[in-house]
């Protein structure tokens, strides 16, 4: 496996947004960074961070969450794109709900745990893809008529907002990941994507990527 140099730092790259989307949603953006890592069992340091995070998050934070600027911005964006944030939870609310329900943030694997830490710390929605299965820059666009989506028998409904590389859709925005494009056993390099919406500053996206990357290096 490629060894990460000691002086490595997350270098977020702005992704592209299709003009039709950019015209409608002025604040919509995506920033990505690549990182060499494997999705194995989380090391003790990462699990310790999850435990500390579990101790910091409790009921009061969950109650006040939707009034905070970044989680509120995601809720608003969910409404704008036709999702009900009380049914399809925003990423941060989903994690907080699981924390309250399970009594802690459950460790899954290195990548998922890193994304959990960054999402809870910063509030930004993050996605991870297998870098070897991504062609070119990652961006956001609307699906085309009859566009196929790996892992789905029927084509995507026209106009669905997707995260895509320069060839195909990698995943539905705030939805499922295309089959074979996500992080899986054997993944050696990961593309982390932070999705920004109106009301979420660019620095928050960079911070989320930095937190996730540093957690992956733990």
């Amino acid at each position: 496996m490629e060894r990460v140099p000691e002086d490595w730092e997350a270098a977020p790259e702005p992704g592209w947004v299709a003009p039709a989307l950019a015209e409608e949603f002025s604040g919509l953006s995506i920033a990505t960074t690549s990182l060499a890592t494997t999705p194995g069992r989380s090391p003790e340091a990462l699990r310790e961070r999850l435990r500390e995070l579990s101790d910091r998050i409790a009921g009061p934070q969950a109650i006040q969450l939707r009034q905070k600027p970044i989680p509120w911005a995601y809720r608003v964006f969910f409404r704008h794109i036709g999702l009900d944030p009380d049914t399809t939870w925003t990423p941060i609310e989903q994690l907080i709900f699981e924390r309250i329900h399970d009594g802690r943030f459950t460790s899954r694997n290195r990548v998922d745990d890193a994304l959990t830490i960054a999402t809870v710390e910063v509030g930004v929605a993050l996605r991870a893809f297998d870098a070897d299965r991504v062609s070119g820059a990652v961006g956001l666009r609307l699906s085309e008529p009859g566009e196929k989506f790996e892992g789905r028998t029927s084509p995507l409904p026209e106009g669905t907002i997707v995260i895509a590389d320069e060839e195909r859709a990698l995943g539905i925005l705030f939805g499922s990941t295309a089959e074979g494009r996500g992080v899986r056993r054997g993944t050696r390099c990961v593309v982390l994507g932070a999705i920004g919406v109106r009301g979420v500053p660019d620095i928050a996206l960079e911070e989320a990527l930095w937190v996730a990357s540093s957690a992956l290096r733990a």
């Binding site: 009034q67 409404r79 036709g82 009380d86 049914t87 009594g103 802690r104 705030f174």
Partner: protein, 365 residues
């Protein structure tokens, strides 16, 4: 419309209605509000309204806690996709409706809660008029399990005498159910392994409860508890909860007996002998009896040692009985009394040491 214009079929206003459902555009130069219709701007405007309404709903959600049963949901339109003006309007209207509903619900709840707060005040001011009334924290929109309950003091006696008071509960019951696993708790396999290797040190290494002989002394436990107890620190005495309870519960039997003893004693001073002497003796006896009962209770609960008092309570009657009831010489009576005193002191000290975890005496609880 001029006739020549009607012949130009490419103009939208002359297209037959069945061919298009789009309303005809007005002639050029005649800008009307009807046709100056920018969908992009409308959608942006609706999105701003939705954002504001969502914030209002979020604030209502936060302020409504801990009230439950309020519906905050507004159905989505299916996505993620670009929504049309109509769909955005539907969401906006749904949010307006939901915000209004939640506000009305909270207003109603606030009114009821205010009335319940006033009820608590009137209960406190006049408990007799609110017999058995009970108000919970949930009734006043507060979290927790506290409740105010008008109950009679001393049970049936209070009911008969009209001694009603407001009793405030001590809060929620302790948490129950599964707790997250202790991070330092070893697995079953590790425990078996350690038991095989170090059978003697097993309990210390696993953090399991120590055996009774290995435990901290009662005094050390009390000192530890006292250091972390604000009431104990403030008063310099033990926590009231540590004081041993009487077998008859909260009923103030000792206090009543002492009160009767004092009354009999005082009355005895004003009554000529021999009845006066008898009453004084009875009064002293009753007072001593109540004090002795409390001493026994505290001593055997290891709350406070009363070895001298209890030993004297044995030695003095022995001396008095021998001196008054027999013809033995006073010296023998004194020796017998001292022996009884010493033996009792040894027994009471042993009993206190056993119960307190090793302490010989304790002056304060």
């Amino acid at each position: 419309m001029p006739e020549e214009l009607l012949e130009l079929t490419q103009l939208p206003e002359v297209i037959a209605p069945e061919e298009s459902l789009v309303p005809p555009a007005p002639p050029e130069g005649l800008d009307t509000a009807l046709y100056e219709y920018d969908e992009l701007a409308s959608r942006a405007n609706l999105r701003r309204q939705i954002a504001g309404l969502e914030l209002q709903l979020a604030r209502l959600f936060g302020s409504a806690f801990p009230r439950t049963g309020i519906d905050y949901g507004v159905a989505g339109m299916g996505g993620p996709r670009l929504l049309s003006v109509d769909e955005l309007e539907t969401i906006r209207d749904g949010l307006v409706q939901r915000v209004n509903d939640v506000r009305l619900t909270l207003n109603d709840a606030s009114y009821v809660e205010q009335k319940n707060r006033e009820l608590i005040e009137s209960m406190t001011a006049d408990p007799v008029s609110h017999k058995w009334v009970r108000v919970n924290n949930a009734d006043i929109g507060e979290p927790g399990c506290k409740h105010w309950h008008v109950t009679p003091r001393l049970g049936p006696v209070g009911m008969l005498m009209g001694w009603w008071r407001v009793k405030v509960s001590s809060g929620c019951p302790l948490a129950e159910g599964l707790r997250p696993p202790d991070r330092y708790m070893p697995t079953k396999r590790q425990r078996r392994k350690r038991r095989r290797r170090q059978p003697a040190a097993q309990s210390r290494s696993t953090g399991a409860p120590r055996p009774a002989g290995d435990s901290l002394s009662g005094q050390a436990v009390r000192r530890q508890r006292k250091r972390s107890d604000p009431i104990a620190l403030a008063t310099g005495r033990g926590h009231p909860a540590d004081r041993p309870r009487a077998p008859w519960g909260d009923f103030p039997l000792s206090e009543i007996v002492i009160f009767i003893g004092i009354v009999v004693l005082i009355v005895g001073f004003f009554i000529p002998p021999p009845q006066g002497f008898v009453m004084i003796a009875v009064g002293l006896g009753l007072g001593s009896l109540a004090g002795l009962e409390l001493s026994i209770r505290e001593h055997f609960a290891a709350y406070r040692s009363h070895t001298l008092l209890l030993s004297a309570a044995v030695g003095v009657p022995v001396f008095g009985g021998l001196f008054l009831g027999t013809s033995l010489s006073p010296a023998i009576c004194v020796i017998a009394g001292l022996l009884a005193f010493g033996g009792a002191a040894w027994l009471f000290t042993s009993a206190f040491r056993r119960r307190s975890g090793g302490a010989l005496y304790r002056l304060r609880g």
